[in-house]
């Protein structure tokens, strides 16, 4: 992410208590291209309980 330029803001550095699965799909950096082995081939047979790992494409 680009460094903020010329902006003075209140930026508290709260440490969050993280909830949920650490493997939920998200985009990091300039992409979310990381596809864990075996994940990409499972979409056809996925159930509603399946939660994708970090995978896919953002841009």
């Amino acid at each position: 992410m680009r460094e903020p330029v010329g902006v003075e803001v209140d930026t508290p550095t709260t440490t969050f208590t993280m909830l949920g699965s650490p493997d939920a799909a998200a985009c990091e950096g300039d992409s979310c291209l990381v596809v864990p082995p075996g994940i990409a081939d499972t979409s056809v047979d996925r159930t509603s309980d399946d939660e994708p790992g970090r995978r896919g494409v953002s841009r």
């Binding site: 902006v7 949920g20 939920a24 985009c27 896919g56």
Partner: protein, 222 residues
């Protein structure tokens, strides 16, 4: 909250960092919205800016496969397969991603527009409109003219929106959001912050969001 508990009444504040050009942000938005429906209590949502790829040009020549192939050095077939996977997951939550017509662009102006919309009470509508335009309609969300048209579609004053975008009125607001994300250590989106103290990363299952909302609501109510 358990099934035999009273309907939650304490408002839960949820701050969401996300980008427009982020397929998991739209998918995560749908899952979160489903969770809010199941939760049933009042939830206040505020979106915050996060640019995944700030160096992307406003006008990129080529389609999604071109961009990813060149940008990531990946074979086109592999990229197509990954796009199909993401589109399939999106369809499960009712989204019709159209990567063939998606137009890559820089999203900073879209984020400025979201802040303009927030200042005018339309941020939620603007966020939905931008994501829908980008992923499902193949519309451009990086140019002022296109953004002004989208602003008008959610009831915002088009001339006011144009003035705000052309003067960069809300650029500092975008940068402030990004600085806050950095201070929080947020490296990926979507990222949900509940009541300022709980973090949830990624497009989680609705039940995960429900549990978190219930937990926070019970704490807020004490």
């Amino acid at each position: 909250m358990t099934a035999d508990s009273a309907t939650p009444s304490a408002t839960v504040k949820v701050d969401i960092w996300s980008d427009i050009a982020c397929p998991w942000c739209f998918i995560g938005k749908r899952k979160f919205e489903e969770a809010v429906r199941r939760f049933g209590g009042p939830v206040e949502v505020e979106y915050h800016s996060f640019e995944l790829s700030p160096d992307t040009p406003v006008d990129f020549e080529g389609d999604e496969v071109d961009f990813l192939s060149k940008h990531k050095g990946m074979p086109a077939d592999q990229v197509r397969g990954m796009l199909d996977t993401v589109a399939g997951i999106a369809s499960e939550v009712g989204l019709a991603y159209d990567f063939e017509h998606l137009q890559h662009t820089n999203t900073v102006k879209a984020h400025e527009l979201l802040h303009f919309a927030k200042a005018n009470g339309r941020q939620t509508e603007m966020k939905e409109r931008l994501l829908h335009a980008y992923f499902e309609e193949g519309r451009h969300v990086g140019r002022v003219d296109d953004l002004v048209a989208l602003a008008g579609e959610v009831g915002l004053d088009e001339q006011e929106a144009r003035d705000a975008l052309e003067t960069g009125r809300h650029l500092d607001d975008v940068r402030a959001d990004q600085a806050q994300a950095q201070a929080f250590g947020i490296t990926g989106v979507p990222f949900f912050v509940l009541d300022g103290k709980y973090g949830i990363s990624g497009a989680q299952a609705p039940e995960t969001f429900v549990q978190a909302l219930e937990q926070v609501a019970s704490e807020v109510a004490r």
